[in-house]
């Protein structure tokens, strides 16, 4: 198996070093650059990008938009606590996932592996999705949990269907509201919370501690992919 090329765009020495070393040790081949300018030259060969939001020459967001306009290469964002709002902007701009500093090697590798796995899959959503005890048939609009059929209302179906298109990937509140309710409803966060509550009540064994429909506090939701 080939070693996946990973471009790490990070200017802080210790973090760049730690990310690079961890990725190499996990059997990947990372390259580390410290500026957006260098990243523009190098990203085309990479299978995955790890981008820090606070870079010395330009905003990491600019790079994310440029890359996303040209290619579907997965992008993992690294953000500091002070950049929480930018993190959501980055996800809306096309980043696939994020890690908030400080983070451990375990988290980093888990995210990178999940993203590479998804990138290898077909870009079209699979007609049938099986994750753990969830069994979702997109065509016939049938969802089963542990063999038990679950009846969804049209809005609940749309919400679940939207999350199921990208299992494992965080979808921001804004994206969910725009795709399920429409572009003029992107600020109606409470709709989303109410329907997510309904959906969890039908799917989760314990809705307070969801196993499948995971909360990303202040950011959005994701459908667990394992």
């Amino acid at each position: 198996m080939t070693r996946p090329d990973i471009l790490v765009v990070e200017d802080e020495g210790p973090i760049a070093q730690f990310v690079g070393a961890s990725l190499s040790a996990a059997g990947m081949s990372p390259r580390v650059v410290g500026t957006v300018r260098d990243a523009r030259r190098e990203w085309r060969d990479a299978q995955l990008l790890v981008v820090d939001l606070g870079l010395p020459d330009e905003d990491g967001l600019t790079l994310i938009r440029e890359v996303r306009a040209l290619a579907p290469t997965p992008i993992l964002v690294l953000s500091a606590r002070a950049q929480e709002a930018q993190k959501i902007e980055a996800l809306d701009a096309g980043a696939d996932d994020y890690l908030t500093k400080p983070f451990g090697v375990g988290e980093l590798l888990a995210r990178v592996r999940a993203m590479l796995r998804r990138a290898g899959a077909s870009p079209l959503p699979a007609p049938r999705l099986q994750i753990g005890e969830l069994d979702f048939d997109r065509e016939s609009r049938e969802l089963q949990v542990g063999g038990r059929p679950v009846h969804l209302t049209p809005l609940e179906f749309k919400l679940f269907e939207r999350l199921s298109r990208t299992p494992g990937k965080v979808v921001t509140h804004r994206q969910l509201l725009a795709d399920v309710w429409g572009n003029d409803q992107v600020d109606q966060l409470h709709y989303l919370r109410i329907y997510m509550g309904h959906l969890r009540a039908k799917i989760e064994a314990d809705p307070a501690e969801p196993r499948w429909l995971l909360t990303e506090l202040g950011v959005g939701y994701r459908l667990a992919d394992e």
């Binding site: 606590r81 509550g197 909360t215």
Partner: protein, 490 residues
């Protein structure tokens, strides 16, 4: 205030004596002169009751004249023969005038009483309208609006701002006189029409300056006429009431601001105190372990090396948690800090935080019990999650060797509550509330001292409260949060 007697009254003043005359004409011959005089007396009483004073006086004069002319012998002449006739005419006239003045004075009293009642009601309504306002500027605006509607005159409030005055309320195009307000405020006297000062101005202006010159009310008057003494007294009462309310609110705001900056000052001091103490301890551990590993790493048995590395990781994680707490504490201690409030679900915040805490403390047993159907609340998710994380962290650290932590959420006193219970060593002696004061670190260990202080700041920033109580065994920390009137109901 005099009103003009309507034409109808003058007409009736002529018509009623004429009717009495016609009636007497019909009765003449069947009744004595005294009997006829009684008919006129009835006419006089009726007019005195029904008509204005002037018209009633005219009616009584006409009645006396008609009685004299038509019926008192010799008839059809104004001559009067005999003392008895004189006496009768004089009594009729005297009685009617006395009656009229009695009725007029009663009427005057009633009008006065009604006016006094209306003015008292106006003062009361003004007080009510101002009580509903928050902030002295909003109150000034409401006072101007209320008085403008109630007095039907352009009305404004001038408030001191820096060196000058700023007008609040009132039509900008009206002929306001800030200089009159300045003068009134500088001298502490009422100025304008009907006053000792500046009586030629077509306005009335009263300062309010109980403690310090704060502002003045001003209303514009028509170019002619002079308000009566009573009207001016009433205006002063209105101005005083509005002024007092605005001054009180202003004083309360100043006190709040002073308190806020005192809080911010205290928070900065704590932050510095905890930085010097709380950061040094883990840093010393990290530095020690790292240098030991670097210098003697090769000679150390693997188990010992692992122990040092695990300690490094733990200390660094604590430091990072503390950095988050310090960051938020600095932010919330700013008097101007604004929360990014969203509609949030307590269940989600707890669920996500508990999942994170289980990964952080794998050896602890963390239970979550959330009552179903909790209402959404306005909160900043990240902050509330940090509050819960700090409480759980604290519970695990003080939960003994096998910590058992129970998180509960449900409907509380005036909204919902979150409670974190541990089964460990319990609280130190003394007032449990002292744990949240920022200098209380020494009782429990440093990291959680800062963490609990931040918990209180976060609860307060959301309009809530936090309290600690002893349990058998262990302790419970409970946060009560208000639930706003929902805009989106389920």
């Amino acid at each position: 205030m005099k009103r003009r007697t309507p034409a109808l009254h003058w007409l009736l003043a002529a018509a009623v004596p004429a009717a009495a005359t016609a009636a007497c004409h019909a009765l003449d011959g069947r009744m004595s002169l005294a009997g006829l005089a009684m008919v006129y007396l009835v006419a006089v009483v009726v007019t005195a009751l029904a008509l204005d004073r002037g018209a009633a006086l005219l009616a009584s004069l006409l009645s006396v004249a008609a009685l004299n002319f038509f019926f008192v012998p010799p008839q059809h002449s104004f001559r009067v023969d005999g003392a008895e006739s004189w006496w009768m005419l004089a009594v009729l006239l005297g009685l009617s005038v006395a009656l009229q003045s009695l009725i007029a004075s009663l009427r005057e009293k009633r009008v006065q009483a009604e006016l006094a009642h209306a003015r008292a009601a106006e003062l009361h309504a003004l007080g009510e309208a101002l009580a509903a306002c928050r902030g002295h500027e909003a109150m000034a605006l409401e006072a101007a609006r209320f008085l403008e509607a109630s007095l039907r005159r352009p009305c404004a409030v001038f408030l001191r701002e820096g060196e000058g005055l700023r007008r609040i309320g009132g039509d900008p195009a009206a002929a306001w006189q800030p200089s009159a307000a300045e003068w009134a405020l500088a001298h502490g006297r009422v100025v304008g029409r009907g006053c000792d000062d500046w009586p030629d101005l077509a306005l009335w202006c009263a300062p309010f300056h109980r403690d310090a010159p704060l502002g003045a009310m001003q209303w514009l008057l028509p170019s002619d006429g002079r308000p009566s003494e009573e009207t001016r007294l009433h205006w002063q009462a209105l101005a005083r009431q509005a002024g007092l309310a605005i001054e009180r609110e202003y004083a309360a705001e100043s006190a709040r601001q002073a308190q806020d900056s005192a809080h911010a000052e205290a928070a900065r001091n704590t932050l510095l105190a905890s930085l010097s103490h709380d950061l040094r301890t883990p840093l010393a551990g990290i530095l020690g372990s790292a240098s030991a590993l670097r210098t003697h790493g090769a000679d150390l048995p693997p188990a010992e090396r692992d122990r040092l590395l695990a300690g490094l990781e733990d200390e660094a994680r604590d430091l990072s948690l503390m950095a988050d707490n310090i960051l938020q504490m600095a932010r919330l201690s700013q008097p101007t800090s604004q929360l990014r409030l969203q509609w949030e679900s307590a269940e989600e915040i707890l669920g996500a935080t508990v999942a994170r805490m289980r990964r952080r403390w794998p050896h602890a047993r963390i239970e979550l019990k959330v009552a179903p159907g909790l209402p959404p609340l306005r909160a900043e998710a990240g902050l509330l999650a940090q509050l819960v994380a700090n409480l759980v962290d604290n519970a695990v650290r003080h939960g003994g060797s096998r910590p058992h932590v129970v998180l509960r959420a449900g409907r509380g006193r005036d909204g919902l509550f979150l409670a974190v219970r541990d089964h460990g060593e319990g609280l130190p002696a003394g007032d449990p509330q002292a744990l949240f004061s920022r200098f209380g670190q020494s009782q429990r260990d440093g990291a959680s001292g800062l963490g609990l202080a931040l918990c209180r700041l976060i609860a307060q920033a959301h309009g809530g409260t936090i309290e600690a109580r002893r349990c058998e065994p262990g302790a419970e920390f409970r946060v009560d949060l208000p639930v706003p009137e929902k805009e989106g109901t389920v």
